[in-house]
């Protein structure tokens, strides 16, 4: 595939400030792995460096992934509206109670994206202004995109009270 543009490595000022980051590339995409404690600082610095668009916040549950040692991989996809560059920032988290500081103060648009990650994976975003479920009902207890949640068979129908037509 020819289309991925050659991506620059991490900006020098970032590389100087955050030493020892694990930078890798795949199909022309630069990826940075950062410890959870430094994630907020790095993301805020990257925004100041020109990666002004937060494209997506998502998560991968590596429970059944071959060779994985950490359970959750948070993914922040950044882009710059001016230069068309992209950068992926990854943060690994573990059970129990995975949590990370929110980036809503850096990008207000992260609010719903983080709500969805909380809803689907149960990762708590500390300092989030309104961390409610986004897609599932409020009363739902599980986090359905976790790998230990089955595709079907738990919690969907039979846990909810059945209303007949007369009662409804």
């Amino acid at each position: 595939m020819t289309d991925p543009l050659p991506q620059p490595a991490l900006p020098e000022s970032i590389a100087a400030r955050f030493a020892g980051l694990d930078v890798s590339a795949f199909r022309g995409q630069t990826r940075v792995v950062v410890p959870a404690a430094e994630a907020h600082g790095l993301l805020a610095a990257l925004r100041a460096e020109g990666f002004d668009l937060l494209v997506d916040v998502t998560c991968v549950d590596y429970l059944e992934y071959r060779g994985a040692t950490r359970r959750y991989g948070l993914v922040y996809l950044l882009a710059s509206t001016g230069g068309g560059q992209r950068l992926t920032v990854r943060v690994f988290l573990d059970d129990p109670q995975p949590a990370i500081p929110t980036v809503v103060d850096v990008w207000p648009g992260a609010e719903w994206l983080e709500r969805e990650v909380w809803d689907m994976f149960g990762i708590r975003f500390e300092g989030h202004p309104d961390l409610r479920r986004l897609l599932m009902p409020e009363a739902f207890t599980a986090h359905p995109l976790r790998k230990d949640y089955p595709l079907q068979g738990r919690g969907e129908r039979h846990n909810f009270p059945v209303l007949t037509r007369d009662e409804g």
Binding site: F26, L53, D56, Y65, V75, L77, T81, R86
Partner: protein, 409 residues
């Protein structure tokens, strides 16, 4: 006898607050003007919207979970159902991301064919979006003009792949059907007739006093807000963000065509309408250039790649074709994605539509995250509607083009 002035205010309890006298209006999830199932809880002071609380999830069907249990080719049927206004664009986006993960280079013909269907999808999406804005603000004729042309595009897609609505057209490394002369002829006819309708539509609405009054200055989104809130596509471009993935990171065959990125600076509903109208004209330029320069040759990648089914001729005449066809049909063979993860996005009609695909060495994705543009646009809604009247809700909602199926997945 004089009527005493209303002493309504004096009868309020001393500890009453101003917000105790606001109306709460439940807008949706079943409301004709939301077009899909989404809910808005509006706080009204008279007819003025003080605040809005958008709520979603009514159409949540677990598409991302399903994506972990279907193969890369099967999942395309589910992407049809995400943004059902332009399913072709979703198909192209999904397999674009999968091919990025696998590192497959498409044939030139396939690239152009996918470009053509993606641009047709953009036109049909913009037609419906602008048509619905017109419909919600009282311009019913405009909507019918738009929908008639959508029907023509449906016909093209039906001739192309047999399905009008849920096309499931792309495959890993290719497409399900090659263009036939009839499809090319139908697209040419559409390209000949559509500009006239587009002119008619512009004449109907663009300078229509009622429509301009209803949309100009309503739902203003500044450039800074658009970037900070992750807006993409026509919504961001109407606010002056000059970002278009077709130009910024040219994928498929877009680098070969001459077209312009349509932007506006006002950031209101009217600007979003204008950007979409103009983008249809630019899409026509791309389509005209693409359909007249359709490369010859194979549409799917070759047998050596072992991802796309070989043609019947190859299956019956070559041993490689037979083996490849057999292996791709076997449940325990098929093809394997690398043990890696990547993100790829296209400029869908609604904005940046991308998929973050994690491969785990099997033929199913380990994770198939869809980055839907609608979610970030819907989150903007309270910001855009505050201070406007109740009747502006439908204008703002329509101009953001919120598709609940894409919102909830």
């Amino acid at each position: 006898m004089s009527i005493a002035p209303s002493d309504h205010d004096t009868r309020r309890p001393a500890d009453a607050r101003e917000e105790d006298y606001l109306w709460t209006l439940n807008f949706g999830p079943q409301h004709p003007a939301t077009h899909t199932t989404l809910r808005l809880v509006l706080k009204l002071e008279g007819e003025r919207v003080v605040d809005a609380m958008p709520e979603m999830g009514y159409l949540h069907s677990g598409f991302e979970k399903i994506g972990e249990h279907l193969s890369y080719n099967q999942y395309v049927t589910v992407t049809d159902r995400m943004n059902y206004i332009s399913p072709m664009a979703n198909n192209v986006a999904w397999h674009h991301a999968v091919e990025r993960l696998m590192g497959i280079e498409l044939t030139p013909r396939c690239k152009v064919i996918r470009t053509i269907v993606a641009e047709l999808a953009r036109i049909s999406d913009h037609l419906l979006c602008n048509g619905a804005v017109g419909l919600d603000t009282g311009a019913f004729t405009f909507f019918l003009y738009a929908f008639y042309q959508r029907e023509v595009i449906y016909d093209i897609f039906e001739t192309l792949c047999g399905a009008r609505f849920t096309n499931s057209y792309t495959r890993v490394g290719g497409v399900s059907q090659d263009f036939t002369p009839l499809v090319v002829e139908k697209i040419r006819t559409f390209l000949r007739t559509f500009p006239k309708t587009l002119d008619d539509m512009e004449r109907l609405l663009t300078r229509n006093r009622i429509f301009v009054d209803r949309t100009k200055g309503v739902g203003v989104l500044s450039r800074e807000e658009a970037i900070a809130h992750g807006a993409t596509g026509p919504v961001a471009r109407a606010s002056g963000v000059t970002r278009d993935l077709r130009k910024d990171e040219p994928y498929l065959a877009y680098a070969d065509y001459d077209f312009q990125v349509c932007c506006a600076s006002a950031g209101d509903c009217y600007a979003r309408y204008l950007v979409r109208m103009q983008e249809m004209r630019e899409s026509l330029r791309i389509l005209n250039a693409a359909i007249e320069n359709l490369p010859a040759g194979e549409v799917n990648v070759g047998i050596d790649e072992r991802v796309a089914r070989p043609s019947k001729w190859q299956v019956y005449s070559t041993i490689e074709g037979t083996i490849s066809h057999f292996e791709l049909s076997m449940a325990n063979r098929g093809f394997e994605a690398p043990h890696e993860e990547s993100y790829a996005a296209i400029e869908a009609p609604n904005g940046e539509l991308g998929f973050y695909v994690v491969g785990d060495g099997t033929e199913n994705a380990y994770r198939a995250r869809c980055r839907p543009p609608s979610v970030l646009h819907f989150a903007l809604f309270p910001r855009l509607i505050r201070g406007h009247t109740l009747s502006d809700v439908v204008a703002v909602l329509g101009s953001l083009n919120i598709i609940a199926a894409e919102l909830d997945r």
